[in-house]
């Protein structure tokens, strides 16, 4: 009965149109944590506006580094990958998409440990509130989703315009280009097809009488096809072939210059990364289930000239921030930032020093984002991105990874 009651409430809510709040996730919580932690590390993802109107431009920017711990059971982004955007349907159109300045109109390859800065330019098309994620689709691995941010589009979809100019100088409206032509041809063929069917329908009733007659005639059932039928069939055949040939000639005349659909990969150059004056080795990673506490023991060698400490740990789009190093506030209610969830035992590592430190990332986000299912994986290896900061506030991203041991008590 309880289920029925809840269902009735859901239906009643649907009836009055009061749907809120919106769901934030796009299925990423269904992906196993290793896929999220060991494929692509996203950071600095921003949107240029959180509210805009139809036809206005939104720029989604950020960076990513493909993991060096990419699970071997999944094809790597080094093979075929595509920089995409995660929104339900074409709520936006994508005007431009670049990686390190190169247009990503088709697929490419991304290499581990290299940094790629992306910028996707979108134009708002359909009013609504959307959780926008950058996505990298990797062939045979699937969509790898970046952090999501809420964006609201106002205005009227009817006002949306999207035009382009062909190399022949024709201005076209991509919302309707060629559609009326396609409809006309489809109707024409439907009329011819229905006319053929009607020719046979004219002699209704046709099923049982013809069934009986065909059974009676047996091998001679072809007698049921009259000379008139054959003449009409010939007429329809000639009409059909003429229309096909005529239609082809018409199209060839109207669109004399065409080309093949374009395929092939585009090379994405990596960004120049500042040298990281650190050697970091993960000695141990343990996840303590009752405390939702992730503990990483590291050996850090600082080859730089300024003391460094860990300011942030990113695991599968969840950011655990050391509030004594930097202040990060969630951009919206669903931004996966734990602003004060990272603690470091061992203090800053001085220049020239090699020291063991322990980093704790403790937050309920491990649970709510279903990262805890990593303890139930056949491949209990994790990887996280650590952001070290030196005395000048300079940031050094370093990926570490290795086996993870769960702690049950």
């Amino acid at each position: 009965m309880k289920i029925l009651k809840i269902l009735a409430i859901a239906l009643a809510t649907a009836c009055v149109g009061g749907f809120s709040p919106l769901a934030a996730a796009h299925g990423e919580r269904a992906q196993m944590p290793q896929v999220r932690m060991r494929t692509v590390h996203w950071f600095d993802v921003t949107v240029s506006a959180t509210k805009l109107d139809v036809n206005q431009i939104l720029v989604v920017k950020g960076s990513f580094i493909p993991s060096d711990f990419w699970p071997t059971q999944f094809p790597s982004a080094e093979e075929t990958a595509f920089l995409n955007i995660g929104v339900p349907g074409p709520s936006f159109v994508r005007l431009d998409s670049r990686v390190n300045g190169v247009p990503m109109i088709r697929s490419t390859s991304f290499h581990p440990e290299l940094q790629y800065n992306f910028e996707i330019t979108l134009k708002a098309r359909k009013p609504g509130r959307y959780h926008i994620h950058p996505v990298i689709n990797v062939k045979d691995t699937g969509p790898l989703i970046g952090p999501g941010l809420w964006v609201e589009i106002g205005g009227d979809q009817a006002a949306f315009t999207n035009t382009a100019k062909t190399l022949l100088g024709q201005d076209i409206d991509l919302e309707s280009f060629g559609y009326a032509n396609a409809v006309h041809w489809s109707i024409l063929w439907a009329v011819v097809g229905v006319a053929w069917f009607v020719w046979w329908l004219l002699r209704v009733p046709i099923i049982l009488p013809r069934f009986r007659r065909a059974a009676e005639l047996g091998a001679n059932a072809d007698q049921m096809i009259t000379l008139g039928d054959r003449r009409v069939a010939l007429g329809f055949l000639v009409l059909t072939l003429s229309l096909i040939v005529g239609g082809y000639m018409y199209a060839d005349d109207k669109w004399p210059i065409t080309t093949a659909l374009q395929a092939g990969k585009i090379a994405a150059p990596p960004a120049q990364r500042p040298a990281v004056p650190l050697d970091v080795r993960m000695n141990e990673a343990r996840y303590r289930i009752p405390g939702r506490s992730f503990r990483v023991a590291l050996t850090v060698t600082n080859r730089g000239s300024s003391p460094v400490t860990v300011g942030e740990l990113d695991a599968g789009n969840v950011r655990f921030v050391n509030s004594s190093v930097l202040q990060v506030k969630p951009a919206d209610a669903d931004d996966l930032v734990a602003s004060d969830a990272l603690h470091v035992d061992g203090g800053p590592v001085a220049p020239g020093e090699t020291r063991d430190i322990v980093v704790y990332a403790d937050d309920a986000l491990w649970e709510t984002e279903r990262m805890t299912t990593m303890i139930d994986s056949p491949d209990a290896i994790v990887a996280v991105m650590l952001f070290f900061y030196d005395g000048d506030g300079k940031r050094y991203p370093v990926e570490v990874g290795g086996p993870m041991i769960p702690v049950f008590g």
């Binding site: 109109i105 046709i206 059909t240 040939v245 659909l261």
Partner: protein
């Protein structure tokens, strides 16, 4: 109250006529719905993406895969309709049912539910191919010749048949220093989160230029495959039209 009496031949003849009409009224819509149902799921899961998106209808795979899958249902039900009723409508009627279902579904799903503009997702037209099969069948009254002539034309003509609908989308344009077709541009701009560009199974290159001739080669091969496919599925049609009874299940 019903009395049990003997009926006159005229009454029975009248009854038979009305029964025949009633059966027509019920069974014709029934088989049209059946064709729409079977053809839709068959076509969606064998051709689907090539027909969903304007930027999938290439010169190499779309004109090859489509007639191969498209000739199955006309073969199977074409046999039934011809063999048992001498109605040569198996090609046209099944494809009409598919087309009607496809238009409704594209409009309601890809356009209405998904939000894509119709010019990106409209179905191709195939009705002419069904007409070819049916008319050749009437003229030859032979499965062999229908398969050979009709099947060949069925496979070979799919591209020219659709060229008046598709040509406009193959006009080139420039985007950020790259040449694209209009269809490619639509595929790039209208975001598909889970169908990235690389998923498209389309022509990537040819080894020989053949003086620019690519599509006719596919057409010739598609025609050949469709002949074989049509014959095979007509044979399957003959099997499934049998009135097989079993005394018990096991």
């Amino acid at each position: 109250m019903s009395a049990v009496t003997t009926n006159t031949p005229a009454q029975v003849a009248d009854f038979r006529h009305r029964l025949d009409i009633t059966v027509d009224w019920l069974v014709i819509p029934l088989v049209i719905m059946l064709f729409a149902a079977v053809f839709s799921v068959h076509f969606a899961l064998l051709v689907g993406d090539w027909d969903y998106w304007i930027d999938w209808r290439d010169r190499r795979w779309w004109p090859l895969v489509t007639p191969l899958a498209l000739s199955v249902i006309p073969g199977v039900f074409g046999y039934l309709l011809w063999d048992r009723l001498r109605l040569p409508v198996g090609g046209t009627l099944t494809i009409l049912a598919l087309s009607a279902a496809a238009w409704v579904s594209r409009y309601m799903n890809f356009h209405g539910f998904g939000g894509f503009p119709m010019d990106m997702v409209f179905p191709s037209t195939f009705i002419a191919l069904g007409l070819i099969l049916d008319t050749v069948l009437v003229l030859t009254r032979s499965w062999f010749w229908t398969g050979l002539i009709g099947g060949y034309l069925f496979g070979a003509l799919i591209y020219p048949l659709n060229w008046p609908l598709l040509a406009a989308y193959h006009v080139p344009l420039e985007l950020h220093g790259n040449m694209l077709t209009v269809a490619d541009l639509m595929g790039f701009e209208y975001v598909r989160t889970a169908i990235p560009e690389y998923v498209r199974i389309i022509e990537h290159s040819t080894l020989r230029t053949f003086g620019g001739v690519v599509t006719p080669l596919t057409a010739v091969f598609a025609g050949f495959l469709t002949v074989l496919s049509y014959w095979f599925w007509v044979w399957i049609g003959s099997l499934v039209s049998r009135t097989t009874w079993l005394r018990k299940i096991i």
